[in-house]
């Protein structure tokens, strides 16, 4: 029972954090047709920024997460304006630009703050007892925050004018521009939102595991897997693929070890791609 419930919570935590990261990745892909490989590094930087704004300004953990999200949103606008907007049409150059961003961010993290064991302080530390099962509150609260944010972002995309503009731009960039939608503003907003979400995910994950300058690499692969399994361009499908991948990562390592679990997870992603390239919920490619 104990193991079952804890695995369930772990699965939910991993799923919700994966979805937060993948949602940003998918947003950028939908709106700009760009695969932002630097997204994992943005997640890593978000975790560190959360840690440092919290410890320098003495903010409570939730304040640190919010402030860090704001900082990273600005960084997202900067990335879009100074890089991706200029290179948008050229796949190789956007790829190279995101790789250069990875190199610069990881090196900066490594030489300035890497190598020291750090944890983001948890929003709600301690343990709680539900019936016979002991749970760590930080995992439960991470899960709750993530789910709350996901609902919020979903409403933002579907119900607000800016969100609808984003959907329009992702469907047809030229037509939206002709309708009077400011495509650049929408792209910048997508980047800001995407980086803010990654930063929150980093802050939440940073309270569960320790910070590491290279923590973004694994997360990038997870985000890719989620987007692929859901189908590129399908935002709603991310929730299902997130649960699948999150629970694979929470359960398989128990039976096969960490590396074995990773082999199984990548094999599953490859299988989905080969059998159903459009993903579970995507359009025909």
């Amino acid at each position: 029972m104990q193991l079952f419930v804890q695995t369930l919570i772990n699965g939910l935590v991993l799923s919700s954090i994966y979805i937060l990261v993948a949602l940003g990745f998918a947003l950028i892909f939908s709106v700009m047709q760009v695969l932002n490989f630097a997204h994992g590094s943005v997640y890593m930087v978000g975790a560190y920024v959360t840690y440092f704004v919290g410890s320098i300004f003495g903010l409570p953990p939730w304040g640190a997460i919010a402030l860090s999200a704001g900082v990273m949103a600005l960084f997202g606008v900067f990335l879009e304006g100074c890089g991706f907007r200029i290179l948008a049409k050229d796949f190789n150059r956007t790829l190279m630009f995101s790789l250069a961003v990875i190199v610069l961010l990881q090196t900066t993290a490594d030489v300035t703050v890497g190598g020291v064991l750090r944890h983001v302080p948890s929003v709600l530390p301690g343990l709680t007892r539900v019936g016979t099962v002991t749970l760590s509150k930080e995992r439960v609260i991470a899960c709750v925050i993530a789910i709350f944010l996901l609902i919020l972002v979903n409403l933002l995309i579907r119900k607000t004018g800016l969100g609808r503009e984003m959907i329009a731009v992702s469907l047809d960039r030229t037509a939206s521009a002709l309708q009077g939608i400011n495509v650049h503003r929408v792209s910048a907003f997508a980047f800001a939102l995407s980086c803010a979400l990654a930063s929150v995910a980093g802050g939440l994950m940073g309270s569960i595991t320790r910070l590491d300058a290279y923590m973004g690499d694994a997360m990038l692969v997870k985000a890719l897997a989620l987007v692929i399994i859901a189908g590129m361009g399908s935002i709603g499908g991310l929730f299902v693929s997130g649960l699948i991948v999150g629970f694979i990562d929470a359960t398989l390592p128990i039976y096969f070890g960490a590396a074995g679990g990773e082999v199984a997870a990548t094999a599953f992603a490859i299988l989905i791609l080969v059998i159903r390239p459009q993903g579970l919920f995507g359009q025909e490619v």
Partner: protein
């Protein structure tokens, strides 16, 4: 994909002269006594290895397949060769080629399965394949040594050739330098011939338009799988040769970030140009070495070079060679007048 600019007859003579000078330089290089001795030789060996891998990756790109798993195939070659030579007691000289063929077989199977995916989807599936291979190396602990490094497999040892004498790979890095130099030269020659052959034209056709290519009887799947397996053959060969030279294999060197680094060498050098990968590898491997005294800051150089190339030289470094040559000729001509 467009072909690189063809050199006209007027410039072909200097091109061969340049190649000849480069060959002579590379052959006498170990005896010039430049910089840190064995360390300098080691960097050269590293450059030769990655020239092989990156050039073979370019061959795969020629057929329109943007693979992001070159390091994974290097790893397959390296581990296969190391394990077969250690467990079966076969000479590394044989296992190196056995491993390359094995890598090619894996690539053919994988390439066939992945051949129904195009463009970004193909790149993404190779990302997963690369991650999976690295995880598999870590998972098969009894065979590969798991997450710690694999050591204790045979190196190239001492080679006795009647008439020439004894070549000792263990006590000096210079024999390995020549081995990798020869392998790199042969690889470049083979890839150059292939690219200029009918097969190479078919690759370009498949890359440009699979539909048109298949309408004139060029099988997309056949030529894509062919390009993929040929490219991976050389990646496996380079991985195996480097593995026997270094004597230590760690799964981390064959992961996603290593693959991405190799893709960066290619894009930075210029994938449209045959010598683009060579330029990219030399610049990105050698330049950070100049700043070795501040090693942890060296990636800033890499990142800076990348940004400059992305924004100022969109076609890659190799696209500068022609204007540079013209400029050189013009200034030289002026000087003569």
């Amino acid at each position: 994909m467009k072909e690189g600019p063809k050199t006209s007859n007027g410039t072909s003579l200097p091109k061969y002269a340049l190649l000849f000078v480069a060959a002579v330089l590379l052959i006498i290089l170990p005896f010039l006594g430049i910089g840190g001795g064995p360390y300098f030789i080691h960097i050269c060996i590293l450059i030769f290895t990655f020239v092989i891998v990156t050039s073979s990756l370019r061959t795969i790109y020629l057929s329109g397949q943007a693979s992001v798993a070159p390091a994974a195939f290097m790893g397959i070659g390296a581990y296969t060769s190391a394990i077969t030579s250690a467990r079966l007691g076969v000479s590394p000289w044989a296992t190196m080629f056995i491993a390359a063929l094995g890598t090619m077989a894996v690539a053919a199977a994988v390439g066939y399965i992945f051949s129904r995916l195009r463009a970004i989807y193909f790149s993404v599936v190779t990302v997963f394949f690369g991650v999976g291979v690295e995880a598999l190396i870590r998972a098969l602990e009894s065979l590969t040594g798991g997450r710690t490094a694999l050591v204790g497999y045979p190196g190239f040892g001492i080679l006795r050739i009647s008439g020439i004498g004894v070549i000792d790979f263990a006590s000096s890095k210079i024999p390995a330098y020549y081995l990798l130099l020869i392998l790199a030269a042969l690889t470049l020659l083979a890839l150059y011939r292939l690219e200029r052959s009918r097969t190479g034209m078919n690759w370009a056709a498949v890359a440009q338009s699979p539909l048109v290519a298949s309408s004139i009887g060029i099988s997309e799947v056949k030529f894509r799988v062919l390009a993929f397996s040929v490219g991976c053959f050389f990646a496996g060969l380079a991985g195996a040769a480097y593995g026997h030279y270094s004597g230590v294999l760690a799964p981390g060197s064959y992961g996603l970030m290593s693959s991405i680094a190799i893709v960066t060498y290619l894009l930075l050098g210029g994938q449209k140009y045959f010598f683009g990968p060579v330029l990219g590898v030399v610049i990105l491997v050698a330049v950070p070495e100049f700043f070795r005294s501040a090693k942890e800051y060296a990636p800033y150089i890499t990142g800076g070079v990348m940004l400059v190339v992305i924004f100022l030289i969109p076609e890659g470094l190799a696209s500068l060679t022609k204007p540079a040559w013209l400029w050189l000729r013009r200034t030289a001509g002026k000087g003569a007048q």
